[in-house]
């Protein structure tokens, strides 16, 4: 968790493997004693209504420029809602991800643990899943499918066309 000499991006879409230590280093501040992270991991086994299902790997595709802009906006929303949050980092990976690899990592730093780091981290993953243009393709032994998330009516172009 060394503080880097040159600042690294806080909101990044990347095809490189993600690291929690790296994300925590990006939010490190001398006056911050608390860092909360969330990692979303590719599951190998999922319980569904039809019973257990096994995933081979995932593919993530992103509208990179817009996605990074939306991630930065989540950071702005967090600082408005939790003013003691000193720094937010959100990284999302694209391309092929194997079971056990993190697809998304969020890190939030605050001076103290009661300053909103847990709440802000949770907020970030909820917002990311609702509004950031990234899509996942699930791949099983016998095929693949693009997953569509739940519709957010306020974002749909058809709402007033």
């Amino acid at each position: 968790m060394d503080i880097p000499d040159t600042p690294r991006k806080l909101f990044e879409i990347t095809d490189q493997p993600l690291s929690l230590d790296d994300a925590a280093a990006r939010v490190a501040r001398p006056d911050c004693g608390a860092v909360v992270t969330f990692a979303g991991i590719v599951r190998g086994e999922t319980t569904t209504e039809e019973g257990p299902r096994s995933t081979d790997f995932l593919n993530y595709e992103a509208y990179g420029e817009m996605a990074e802009r939306q991630l930065a906006r989540i950071g702005d929303e967090i600082k408005q809602q939790w003013p003691k949050v000193a720094s937010v980092c959100i990284l999302h990976r694209t391309g092929r991800l194997e079971v056990g690899e993190p697809s998304v990592i969020i890190a939030v730093a605050t001076p103290h643990r009661g300053d909103g780091c847990f709440e802000a981290c949770r907020f970030a993953i909820e917002r990311l899943k609702a509004a950031v243009p990234i899509w996942k393709q699930e791949n099983w032994s016998d095929g693949s499918v693009w997953i569509e998330g739940p519709t957010q009516p306020e974002l749909s172009a058809g709402a007033d066309t």
């Binding site: 420029e65 899943k129 950031v132 243009p133 998330g149 066309t161």
Partner: protein, 89 residues
């Protein structure tokens, strides 16, 4: 006027291309662009499918007017984030 259309995920696969220029009459809106795409690429089924639209990387409504050089992105509901289970994770 000419705009750039970008497609992602299912829509990109249905169309077979990720990006293409689209010629539109001056004053056309997002809805006009979608109607033109529906006519030229019926396999996209943009008229019956739940889609999101962004103009120059900001979410946009159908009523938004387009300008020469705009980037119009069309994509399905997003599914990034936590894990491989859209309904539950």
């Amino acid at each position: 006027m000419k705009i750039q259309v970008r497609l992602f995920a299912t829509l990109r696969q249905l169309a077979g291309w990720p990006q293409q220029a689209l010629e539109l009459p001056s004053g056309a809106t997002v809805a006009d662009a979608l109607a033109e795409l529906d006519r030229r690429f019926p396999q996209l089924t943009v008229s019956t499918r739940t889609i999101y639209v962004a103009v120059n990387q900001e979410y946009a409504r159908g009523t938004q007017p387009l300008q020469e050089g705009d980037e119009l992105a069309i994509f399905p509901p997003v599914s990034g984030g936590a894990a491989n289970d859209a309904s539950q994770v």
